[in-house]
Amino acid sequence: MTFWELVALGLLACGRAIRTAFRSAVALTWLPMLALQALVILALAVAAHPLLSGFMAPLLRAVSGDDALRYPQGFHRLPALAAQAWFFGAAIVGPLCTGAAARAFAASGAGRPALAGTALLEALRRWPSLWLAALPGALVVVGLDAALAQLAGVRISGPTRALLPLLAGGLQIAAQAACFFPPMLVALEDLNPFVAIARIPSTLEHGFVPAAVVLLLVAAVMQPFGWVAPWALGDAGHDLPEVSGVLAVAQGLPHAAAGLIASGAGAFAYLAALAPGEELR
């Protein structure tokens, strides 16, 4: 396959994932992630309640200070806390949802009914394996983020400082594209996670470019959906800080949609270009 054919494959996989997501119940596979995020945000919002403060208060004090347990400061800090919560939620529950979505998309692609519940149960059985298979990608993201944070205190030129996040973003996408398929191998081929990780080099020739295209598209579409601060809402954010809690839950939707489409596109790209004896159906 030529480079442009691989690019086209990535685009086609994305298109097909979007169409499938609208037509079947595969979208429900990312519901656990959304539900977890909503629960975490609720817990953050009312962390001072006696039912929660036993464990939430020390946690929040350590992460964001005592003011995070007060009103309205807690809500003011909610977008930043929600972003962190999403990150940790995605690291823990994300592989489960990715695995379930990959199986549901594959079933739908094969013309079988895409039963989200069944896919989730199967993924739940493979959760530890899926988590281990997704670990290299997660570590790369964390590592690059930490490196970027370290650079904040280093004396560098203005243009370099402006370009560094772009460069880091590019590196993250390249590294994530390289580590894109091990969770698919676990979910679709039922491979041992270490074997799946060991197969990364063999997936690069036909898998790297489509995966990079998928990740680039998802990143581009997600650009307008940052975690918005409540004062961005103007008077509504000031008069009713609780709005930022609702907003933080709502903002989970595009993030979950991005995860779903990336999982589906990954599954289709895998089946088309990497699976032994398979073709894009």
Partner: protein, 498 residues
């Protein structure tokens, strides 16, 4: 699986039992007062369009917060700076805001009672007690209960300025209280009581200073020094400031040296002023330090009867910097007055004219013009005095028409009214005084001017009703206690308000 679920349930129940109810009470009280304050902000943003019903809703909002979190209950539970302290603080703040809103609606009696409630209940919240005492003292003045107001100031003066565990610095209000109280007592001719207040404050602040930390010591020493300066105890005042100097970092020492000079002047020790000024100038030649030190030294030389040295120090201020900033008008005005006293009228006149030319909008410039008129009058050169007054009125008319700066409008308006009175244009002077008062109703000088306008109106055959209404308004809402008392008399002019 079932055992796991049971374990999770047990852990949840354990965690629930570990929760701190005070944290939740704090969250709810924060939320309640946040929304009460948001309503207040919306109502106050309406400005003059805000109706009494709007303010009533604001007051009710704060009252609801205070009722849900009773100050007496939460303040009694305060034993640290944790969430219980925060709830008590929020509760007291709600009561305070409720009282402030009541006062804004004209219900000073109710406001004073609410503030008294905070004082009675909030032994653990000294910051709120200070704010309540201050607000109550002002409300009592508005109610005409002057002695009770003095009692509030006395209570404030006896408080511990470093009692608030969350203070950023010793309470400035507590440190100022003895000075305010003494000044108020002196204005009523109760000098012995004023001396007693200052003597007690000296002892009290000395004791507080002895147990204060290094962070609090400079502000406390400064407060003690001001009290001693008010007692005319120059060595004591300077000794207190030197205490602060001892623990101060190097970069603060020039400022302290300049303050020592100013305090020595206040306390009536001109020789020390000269010495400290020289020291301050040698440490730092900025306008803030050297400029103020030169002005203090010039004043000291004047008191010591050495006008040449004083003139040299004023010259130093004016020649050291191309723009001496706010010190310029002061140096020129005081130099002109000194020259006038020395009998060098031509030079003094030139200085007053230079002051007007260089700083046309400065209050001292207006004052200079008035002094020119006074000088001619004192020399029985009545025609020259009238000419100077007419010229200055024309200048002030042009200035006030072209410059909307509040300072220019207020000070220019006051001096213009005085000059109009001198010219015998009483009706215009009356209008000028009333216009200035209506533009700056909370300014004590404007209030005194309004009282004068009432006296002028009372002299006209058709002005009695206007005079009565002005006096009634001043009795009801004047910020200055002196003006309130004077407005109670039949004629402001008779009680010496000019």
């Amino acid at each position: 699986m079932r055992r796991g679920a049971l374990l999770v349930l047990a852990a949840g129940a354990f965690a629930a039992g570990c929760g701190d109810p005070a944290l939740w009470a704090r969250w709810r009280s924060d939320r309640a007062i946040y929304h009460a304050q948001a309503l207040e902000r919306r109502v106050l943003a309406k400005g003059s369009r805000a109706q009494d019903a709007d303010l009533a809703r604001v007051e009710a909002g704060f009252a609801a917060v205070a009722a849900d979190f009773p100050t007496s209950r939460w303040a009694a539970a305060v034993n640290d700076t944790g969430p219980v302290h925060d709830v008590a603080l929020t509760s007291a703040r709600a009561t305070f805001e409720q009282a402030a809103t009541a006062a804004r609606r004209g219900a000073d009696e109710r406001a004073a009672a609410l503030w008294a409630g905070i004082e009675a209940a909030d032994a653990g919240l000294p910051g709120m007690v200070v704010a309540s005492r201050l607000a109550r003292a002002r409300a009592l003045v508005r109610l005409g209960r002057y002695d009770e107001s003095l009692a509030e100031w006395a209570g404030l003066a006896e408080m511990d300025p470093i009692a608030d565990p969350r203070r950023a610095a010793p309470s400035a209000e507590v440190l100022d209280a003895p000075l305010v109280l003494a000044s108020e007592l002196r204005s009523r001719g109760r000098d012995a009581a004023a001396d007693s207040v200052l003597r007690r404050a000296d002892g009290h602040l000395s004791a507080v200073l002895a147990r204060a930390t290094n962070d609090d010591r400079p502000a406390l020493a400064d407060g003690l020094s001001r009290v001693r300066a008010a007692r005319r105890d120059a060595p004591g005042a300077l000794a207190a400031l030197r205490l602060a100097l001892r623990g101060a970092p190097n970069w603060e020492i020039p400022q302290f040296a300049e303050e020592l000079a100013a305090r020595a002047l206040e306390a009536g020790a001109p020789e020390s002023v000269v010495a400290y000024s020289r020291w301050a100038v040698s440490l730092d030649d900025t306008r803030r330090v050297a400029g103020n030190a030169w002005i203090a030294a010039a004043r000291a030389w004047t008191r010591l009867g050495q006008p040449d040295s004083a003139l040299a120090d004023y010259d130093a201020v004016l020649s050291r910097w191309i723009d001496p900033g706010s010190l310029g008008p002061v140096a020129r005005f005081e130099r002109a007055m000194l020259l006038e006293e020395l009998g060098e009228w031509e030079r003094a006149h030139a200085e007053y004219l230079a002051l007007q030319a260089v700083y046309p909008t400065q209050p001292l410039s207006f004052e200079g013009a008035r002094r020119v008129v006074d000088y001619y009058q004192s020399q029985n050169q009545h025609d020259l005095a009238r000419l100077a007054a007419q010229g200055e009125v024309a200048i002030l008319d042009r200035l006030r028409a072209s410059n909307r700066d509040p300072g220019v409008q207020r000070n220019g308006g006051r001096v213009r009214a005085e000059l109009l009175l001198f010219l015998g244009r009483d009706r215009e002077a009356e209008d000028a005084l009333l216009t200035t008062w209506r533009s700056f109703p909370d300014d004590s000088t404007s209030e005194a001017g309004a009282l004068r306008a009432a006296a002028l109106a009372a002299r006209r055959p058709d002005g009695a009703a206007l005079a009565d209404s002005i006096r009634a308004a001043l009795r009801r809402s004047a910020a200055s206690a002196t003006v309130r008392r004077a407005a109670g008399a039949l004629d402001g002019a008779e009680v010496g308000v000019h």
